[in-house]
C-alpha cells in the first residue's frame, strides 16, 4: 500500500512502502532466564507470549520468573560480586564494558529491528536513537570504571553490592544500558528485569554478555510480570533498587524498601512543559513540539505533553502544528517512512483512549490528524487538545501517549508559575531566540532536564532525572555514577 504524505506546498507525495528486512534477525521460539551466564528454565515452568503490537502476532515466549528464580539470580549476583567482580580492577571491568559496547554496535541493526518488532517504535528511532545511545552508554561508562576517584575526590568510592534493576517498555534496550553500564562500571553486579511486553532486546543483550565472556553472575536477566519485580524489590540480599516506570509503582517500591538498607533511584513519570515564546523560530518550534510529544508514540517519561504558547503566536503555532501533524505517518514500525509506530500494548492504548475521552468530556477541543491507521495492531492518531486549563485532567496526569494539551500565556512569570504547578518535575522545553531569557527560564523551572530550542535530546554524558514526584537520583553522566557508589 502506497502511503500518502502531504508536502508543505500542499501537493501529495506518495511513498512506496520501505520495510526494513527482518531476515537477518535471529530469535528463539522461547526464552529462558539468564542466570550465571546460563539459560535456565523458570522453576514456575510458566511462559508468556510477547506480541508484536503492530500486528498482534506472537513473536516469542518469555519465561515468567517467580520468587525462587529471582532468589537464584540474586545468589548468582552475590557470588559473582564477592568472588570475582569486586576483586577485579577498574581497568579490567572497563574492558568488559568496552567489549560489550563494541559487540552491541556489531549487532546494532539486528537489535534495532527486534526493538521495533517487540516495542512498536519506528525503525528510524530504534536504528538512529535507541540502539546507538545504548551502545554509547556502555562505551561511556566503560571509561569511568578505573576513574571513579576522579568523580568523587576524597570520598573513597566503593560499590554497593547487588543491584536490582527494573526497567520500562518504552526504551527497552536503552533503559537496560542506562541501568547495567553504570552499575558494572562502579563494581556492582546486577539482576535486571525487563518490562513484560518488551523482554527481547534485554535477552539479546544477555546473549551478547555471554559471548563477551563477562564472568558468570555479573549480569542476570530475569523476565516476568509485576510479581517478578516485587520479588526483586523485596529480596533481602539486594543492596540497591533502580527503577524506571510509573510514579505509582515507584511509590509502592519506595514504601517496600522503607526501613531497609536498600538505596533507591527512581526515574518516574512526568507532565513536562514545552514553552513557546513569540520570538521563537516558529517552524523550528513546531518541529520541537512534534518531537516533544509524538516521539516514540508519546511513550516518553519526559514527553513535552503540556504545551504553553505565548498568546500572540498561538494561532500561528496551532495552525502550523495541525498542518505538520497531517504529514506524520502512523503505521508499520518497520517501515522506514513511519513517524509514529504502534502503541506498545492493548492496555496502554485503552489508557490513552480513556484520557482522550476524559479530555473531550471536560470540554477541551480535540484535534486529531486525519491519517489512515492500520486495521490490525494498536495505533493512535496524533492528538491535540486546545483550550485546556490547569484544572483539566489531561493537563495534570501523565497519559504516556501521543496526546498534547495546549495552553496559552502572556508573561514570563505566568508561564513559570503554570509550568511549575505540577507534582512532577522531570523535564521542560523553552523556545525563544533570547539567550538571557533561556537562562531565566532554565533556572526558574523545577525540572531535572531543561532543553532550550530543542526537545527529547539524550546523551550518555548528560545526567537525566527528576525533581519532586518524578523521582530521585540521576542517570547518565558523572552524576549517574553516584547512584551506584558508597561514598565515605
Amino acid at each position: 500500500m502506497a502511503k500518502k504524505k502531504e508536502s508543505p506546498q500542499g501537493t501529495e507525495w506518495n511513498y512506496s512502502p520501505s520495510p526494513e528486512s527482518t531476515t537477518h534477525v535471529k530469535l528463539e521460539k522461547r526464552y529462558a532466564l539468564f542466570i550465571n551466564n546460563e539459560w535456565v528454565a523458570p522453576s514456575s515452568k510458566a511462559y508468556f507470549p510477547t506480541l508484536n503490537p503492530a500486528n498482534e502476532t506472537v513473536i516469542s515466549e518469555i519465561a515468567w520468573a517467580n520468587d525462587k528464580d529471582v532468589d537464584k539470580a540474586v545468589r548468582a549476583a552475590r557470588k559473582a560480586y564477592q568472588e570475582v567482580w569486586s576483586k577485579l580492577s577498574g581497568a579490567e571491568r572497563g574492558k568488559y564494558l568496552f567489549r560489550i559496547a563494541r559487540m552491541m554496535q556489531e549487532k546494532s541493526r539486528e537489535l534495532a529491528v527486534i526493538e521495533s518488532m517487540d516495542c512498536g517504535k519506528p525503525i528510524r528511532e530504534s536504528r538512529d536513537i535507541d540502539i546507538p545511545l545504548a551502545c554509547n552508554h556502555f562505551f561511556y561508562y566503560a571509561g569511568w570504571a578505573d576513574k571513579l576517584e576522579y568523580a568523587f575526590p576524597t570520598k573513597n568510592p566503593k560499590p554497593l553490592g547487588v543491584a536490582g534493576q527494573i526497567i520500562p517498555w518504552n526504551f527497552p534496550l536503552l533503559m537496560a544500558a542506562w541501568k547495567i553500564a553504570p552499575a558494572l562500571a562502579a563494581g556492582n553486579t546486577v539482576v535486571l528485569k525487563p518490562a513484560e511486553t518488551t523482554s527481547l532486546t534485554a535477552l539479546k543483550l544477555a546473549e551478547i554478555i555471554k559471548e563477551s565472556g563477562l564472568p558468570p553472575g555479573v549480569v542476570n536477566i530475569v523476565t516476568g510480570h509485576g510479581d517478578t519485580g516485587a520479588a526483586i524489590v523485596n529480596h533481602p540480599d539486594i543492596d540497591k533498587i533502580a527503577f524506571t516506570g510509573s510514579t505509582n509503582v515507584g511509590k509502592i517500591i519506595q514504601r517496600s524498601v522503607a526501613g531497609t538498607h536498600k538505596k533507591t533511584t527512581l526515574e518516574l513519570g512526568g507532565k513536562s512543559a514545552n514553552i513557546i515564546f513569540d520570538d521563537a523560530p516558529i517552524d523550528q518550534a513546531v518541529e520541537g513540539i512534534v518531537n516533544g510529544i509524538f516521539f516514540n508514540q508519546g511513550h516518553v517519561c519526559c514527553a513535552g505533553s503540556r504545551l504553553f504558547v505565548q498568546e500572540n503566536v498561538a494561532e500561528e503555532v496551532i495552525r502550523k502544528l495541525k498542518h505538520r501533524m497531517e504529514s506524520l505517518y502512523v503505521g508499520d514500525p518497520l517501515d522506514k517512512n513511519t513517524d509514529i509506530g504502534a502503541i506498545n500494548s492493548k492496555e496502554q492504548l485503552d489508557t490513552i483512549n480513556r484520557y482522550i475521552k476524559i479530555g473531550i468530556e471536560e470540554g477541551a477541543e480535540i484535534h486529531q490528524s486525519q491519517c489512515a491507521i492500520p486495521s490490525q495492531g494498536f495505533f493512535c492518531r496524533p492528538t491535540l487538545f486546545i483550550g485546556v486549563s490547569q484544572s483539566h485532567t489531561i493537563a495534570q496526569e501523565e497519559i504516556f501517549g501521543p496526546v498534547l494539551s495546549i495552553q496559552t500565556f502572556r508573561t514570563v512569570d505566568e508561564v513559570i508559575q503554570k509550568a511549575n504547578n505540577t507534582p512532577y518535575g522531570l523535564a521542560a522545553g523553552v523556545w525563544t531566540d533570547k539567550g538571557s531569557r533561556i537562562f531565566n527560564l532554565t533556572t526558574q523551572l523545577k525540572a531535572g532536564v531543561v532543553w532550550a530550542n530543542t526537545y527529547n535530546k539524550f546523551d550518555p554524558v548528560s545526567p537525566f532525572g527528576g525533581y519532586k514526584e518524578s523521582g530521585f537520583g540521576r542517570e547518565g553522566g558523572l552524576h549517574g555514577l553516584g547512584a551506584y557508589l558508597k561514598l565515605s
Partner: protein, 285 residues
C-alpha cells in the same frame, strides 16, 4: 531577683507560643523545673511549613556570596553570646569544659559552611560534552523546604551540624529541636534572628518529635527530611515521606560535616543550550 527567660518557638521571623497553648516542663537532673517549653502541635508544623515555603524564594535567590556572609554573621553573633550557651548547656547537665567545646565546635561549623556557600556548586557541577551542537551543563539547585529532626542527644552542635548545610545550599527549614535538650535551640533561633537571616528561612519548634515529625514527614509541601538514625520512628517517617516522594536523608551519626551534607539536599539540573553553527568556519589556525 533573676529574670527568667520564656522559651518560645520561632515561626516566620517571630517568636510566638504554640497555637495549642500546651507546654512541657524541662527538669534538671535534680528534678527542678528549668523552664516550661512549648509543646508544639500539628498546626504549628503546618504554619512553619507555610513560612518556610514563603521564604524559599528570597533565600534561594540570594547570591551565594551573600549566603556565605550571612552564615559567617551567625558565627559572629554566636561568638558574642557564648556565655548564654555555656550556661544553658550546663543547666541541661553537661560540664563546663564540654559546654565550651560544643559551642566552639558549633561556631567552627558555621565558619566552615560560610566558606562553602560560593564553592560547592563549582565543585559538584559538570559541563557535559554532548554529541550535538549544545552547551550542556549540570548544576545544583536547592531542594526547597527541608524538615530537620535535630539530633536528640545534642542541644546545639547537633542542630547546627544538620541545619547549616541545608541553609548553605539555599534551602529553608523547619527544625524540630531535641525534646530533652531544647534550650540552646530556642536561643540559637534568637541568634539567627539577629544575624540577617530573613524571617521564615529557619523555623524552630520544640515539643515531642513523635508528635510533630510524622506531620512534617507527611506534609505535601516539604521537599526533604533529615534526621539521625532514629530507629522505628525513622521507618514510619520514611513511609510517610513516599506520598510526595520527599527525599529522606538519615545520617548514622547526627554530627557530621562536609561537602556531601550540602549536596544531599540539592537537585541536579541539566540544561541544554543551543550553539549557533552557521557556515563552515573552523578554528584550525
Amino acid at each position: 531577683m533573676e529574670i527568667l527567660k520564656t522559651y518560645k518557638i520561632y515561626i516566620g521571623g517571630s517568636f510566638p507560643r504554640t497555637e495549642s497553648g500546651r507546654y512541657y516542663p524541662l527538669k534538671s537532673s535534680r528534678g527542678e523545673t528549668i523552664a516550661n517549653l512549648c509543646l508544639s502541635s500539628r498546626k504549628d508544623v503546618r504554619n512553619a511549613v507555610v513560612a518556610a515555603r514563603k521564604a524559599f524564594g528570597t533565600w534561594s535567590e540570594k547570591t551565594a556570596f551573600n549566603r556565605g556572609q550571612i552564615l559567617y554573621r551567625i558565627a559572629e553573633i554566636l561568638e558574642g553570646r557564648k556565655g548564654q550557651f555555656f550556661e544553658e548547656l550546663i543547666k541541661q547537665g553537661i560540664g563546663r569544659k564540654a559546654a565550651e567545646k560544643e559551642v566552639q565546635a558549633s561556631i567552627d561549623c558555621l565558619v566552615y559552611y560560610a566558606g562553602w556557600a560560593d564553592k560547592y556548586v563549582a565543585v559538584a557541577s559538570s559541563v557535559n560534552p554532548v554529541s550535538s551542537n549544545h552547551f550542556n551543563f549540570s548544576t545544583l539547585e536547592p531542594m526547597g523546604v527541608v524538615g530537620i529532626i535535630a539530633p536528640q542527644e545534642s542541644s546545639l552542635l547537633g542542630l547546627v551540624s544538620m541545619l547549616i548545610p541545608a541553609l548553605c545550599g539555599g534551602n529553608t527549614a523547619i527544625v524540630l529541636a531535641s525534646e530533652n535538650l531544647p534550650l540552646c535551640a530556642v536561643t540559637f533561633a534568637e541568634v539567627l534572628h539577629a544575624s540577617d537571616v530573613p524571617g521564615g528561612v529557619v523555623n524552630l519548634l520544640t515539643g515531642s518529635i513523635h508528635e510533630t515529625a510524622p506531620v512534617l514527614a507527611a506534609h505535601m509541601d516539604v521537599n526533604a527530611l533529615v534526621s539521625e538514625d532514629i530507629g522505628e520512628l525513622g521507618k514510619s517517617l520514611s513511609i510517610a515521606c513516599v506520598d510526595n516522594l520527599k527525599r529522606y536523608i538519615q545520617y548514622s551519626s547526627g554530627i557530621t560535616q562536609g561537602l556531601q551534607e550540602i549536596i544531599e539536599l540539592q537537585e541536579v539540573k541539566t540544561t541544554w543550550h543551543p550553539i549557533e553553527k552557521i557556515g563552515g568556519a573552523t578554528s584550525t589556525y
